[in-house]
């Protein structure tokens, strides 16, 4: 049947995807040295993936996504300190807490222009930042949350100085959540999100309940961001106010735009490009790397990420979803 065949083609795994993940896992076997950076990349990739779910798939732009990242980080940190050092339950708790915050604040971003949403999300993150600063008994205030001793992974593997355990943990979490996201964007729910992003009026004329879908995806995205925050808290055994900082929201937005919105690998590619570039530039020019980074962004925008990436993307889009 042609229709069924067409459908099954939509979600099929392509070779480059498989290669990508094999490489990511193979990096675990590298000699120690780069796993710490890889861990940071995996966390930023997950964070960017979470932003892509709302920006690329549902059209909600956010300049305050750190609200959920930070909430997840603090939730994981406090849970580790107060309840149990086991990382897995901590991760689960962080996801639930961030998702709850996402559900609660989703009502604020249901309508409005890009500018409105930009400002509302930004304001939510800033409020949380101030709240965290105002509760030093809980969060440690500006000194950061200390005294986290994260338990071993699966009860066996300690988070060591080399960061290999950390990278393995973050990568597996990223991979599992990526699989879930991949499943979701190819589901009827994902399809309806794409319709809402393109034209909300039209989507509702097809019977799509825009509000509940947006609430659902915003909550989901918050959960993902919370997971990323929890990974950061657990692999660094430390949470500071910077997890809620404006800079963090801006960075993840930059990374996602660099990689391209609306395809799941955009956040991943962007995170790799952004972090590697930052690492290389700031190692070679600690005082002046911002200039080169800025130049890169300007050129990227002027040449047009579309045009620049069209060759590459066109090729990839054929083989990746």
């Amino acid at each position: 049947m042609s229709v069924t065949a067409s459908f099954s083609r939509r979600a099929r795994w392509r070779l480059p995807e498989i290669v990508f993940w094999l490489l990511a896992f193979a990096a675990l076997l590298l000699p120690p040295g780069k796993h710490l950076l890889l861990n940071e990349i995996a966390i930023l990739a997950l964070f960017a993936l979470s932003l892509d779910l709302i920006l690329g798939y549902a059209g909600i732009i956010s300049l305050g996504h750190a609200a959920f990242f930070g909430t997840g980080a603090y939730a994981a940190g406090l849970f580790c300190k107060l309840v149990t050092p086991d990382p897995h339950t901590g991760l689960a708790v962080a996801i639930v807490v961030a998702a709850a915050l996402g559900a609660a604040t989703s009502l604020l971003v249901l309508r409005g222009s890009d500018l409105t949403r930009l400002m509302v999300t930004l304001a939510v993150a800033l409020v949380l930042h101030e709240v965290a600063n105002a509760l030093p008994l809980w969060t440690g205030g500006a000194d950061g949350l200390q005294g986290m001793t994260v338990g071993p992974l699966l009860g066996h593997f300690d988070f060591d100085l080399y960061g290999r355990t950390a990278y393995a943990y973050s990568l597996v979490t990223l991979f599992v959540l990526f699989l879930l996201a991949r499943r979701i964007v190819h589901s009827p729910f994902g399809l309806s999100l794409m319709a809402i992003r393109r034209n909300p009026l039209r989507a509702s004329a097809l019977g799509v309940p825009n509000r509940s879908r947006l609430i659902a995806v915003y909550t989901l995205s918050a959960a993902y961001a919370g997971a990323a925050g929890a990974l950061l808290a657990q692999t660094t055994a430390y949470v500071s106010l910077e997890v809620l900082d404006f800079q963090r929201s801006a960075d993840v937005l930059l990374a996602l735009i660099i990689g391209g919105t609306g395809w799941l690998y955009g956040g991943l590619a962007g995170a790799i490009a952004f972090k590697v570039l930052q690492d290389v530039l700031s190692a070679s020019a600690p005082q002046f790397w911002m200039f080169w980074m800025g130049l890169f962004l300007v050129v990227l925008a002027l040449v047009g990420r579309e045009r620049l990436g069209q060759g590459v993307r066109g090729l990839l889009a054929k083989v990746m979803p």
Binding site: D114, L115, M119, V127, M290, F291, L297
Partner: protein, 285 residues
């Protein structure tokens, strides 16, 4: 009480001058220019350098700051910005953040990363009793200058040929071109004036806000708040929003404890935007 109100008004007026260029580019030209603060910073550094190095009097620095920033705006508009009109908002974000990075790094390289200060002329220092209220002379100066500028802008936008051309160009660039309006030039001139005003605001703000290479990032949030709350349909909305922001900020910090005072302004922002997604003073659509 009156003093607090007065302080807030002065602060708000300054914010308006700094942000009104953004209201025009974002609101009228639909361009997300997150690098707006860089032009303000340019004006600030022009002033500091002129005063420090060549002893130019403060008043003479203000027009210089305007002209320098406007020229910078014009050059960048003609060479870079215009290629991004009508492009995706996200690409504009990418571009303008990149520009901020470049501006910050370059300024840091040439001007150093420390805070810079100016010394006001003595006739602008100190306080006076006016109608029983003790007011700062510099803040009074700010209110007079910025108030006059706001009035001038409003008249310029509504009463002059240039204003009507701009509005036509913004409404529908194609139709405007058909009517013989040089749309590209109108946009460039508008952009330059907006940048110039930001530069002037930067010069006026050194005394109150300080000046360092990270100025464009530090105050971006405030500029965006002014534009978002004010709505993007003209100049008066952002003007009122800036006043409101100034008064709310100052009064919030005065009457509430620090912990609350810090985020009262953001809560107000959320409430306003949820109730009026297009801004407090936007015309209903």
């Amino acid at each position: 009480m009156a003093t607090i109100l007065f302080d807030g008004v002065a602060y708000g007026m300054l914010m308006f001058i700094l942000a009104c260029g953004l209201a025009v580019t974002l609101g009228l030209m639909n361009f997300v220019n997150l690098a707006h603060g860089a032009f303000a910073m340019a004006g600030g550094y022009v002033t500091v350098t002129l005063m420090d190095r060549w002893g130019v009097p403060f008043l003479a620095c203000l027009p210089a700051a305007f002209v320098a920033s406007a020229a910078l705006g014009l050059v960048l508009e003609r060479t870079l910005y215009r290629h991004l009109y009508g492009r995706d908002h996200l690409e504009q974000v990418l571009f303008s953040i990149g520009l901020v990075f470049i501006a910050v790094a370059t300024t840091d390289y040439f001007m150093g990363s420390s805070q810079r200060n100016i010394t006001l002329p003595s006739w602008l220092q100190g306080r006076r009793e006016i109608l029983g209220v003790s007011v700062g002379l510099y803040r009074s100066f700010l209110i007079v200058v910025c108030g006059a500028l706001a009035l001038g802008l409003q008249l310029g936008l509504t009463r002059t040929r240039f204003g009507s051309r701009l509005r036509a160009a913004v409404d529908d660039a194609r139709v405007a071109r058909g009517l013989g309006i040089p749309v590209g030039l109108v946009f460039a001139a508008t952009f330059a004036v907006g940048s110039g005003l930001a530069g002037l605001g930067g010069a006026l703000g050194v005394e109150l806000l300080g000046l360092d290479p990270y100025f464009p990032m530090k105050f971006l949030i405030y500029f965006l708040i002014v534009v978002a709350v004010g709505g993007t349909s003209g100049i008066m909305g952002p003007f009122l929003a800036a006043l409101l922001l100034g008064i709310a900020d100052v009064a919030g910090k005065y009457y509430l404890s620090s912990a609350l005072g810090g985020f009262v302004i953001y809560l107000v922002l959320i409430v306003v935007l949820v109730l009026r997604p297009h801004g407090l003073f936007a015309r209903a659509r």
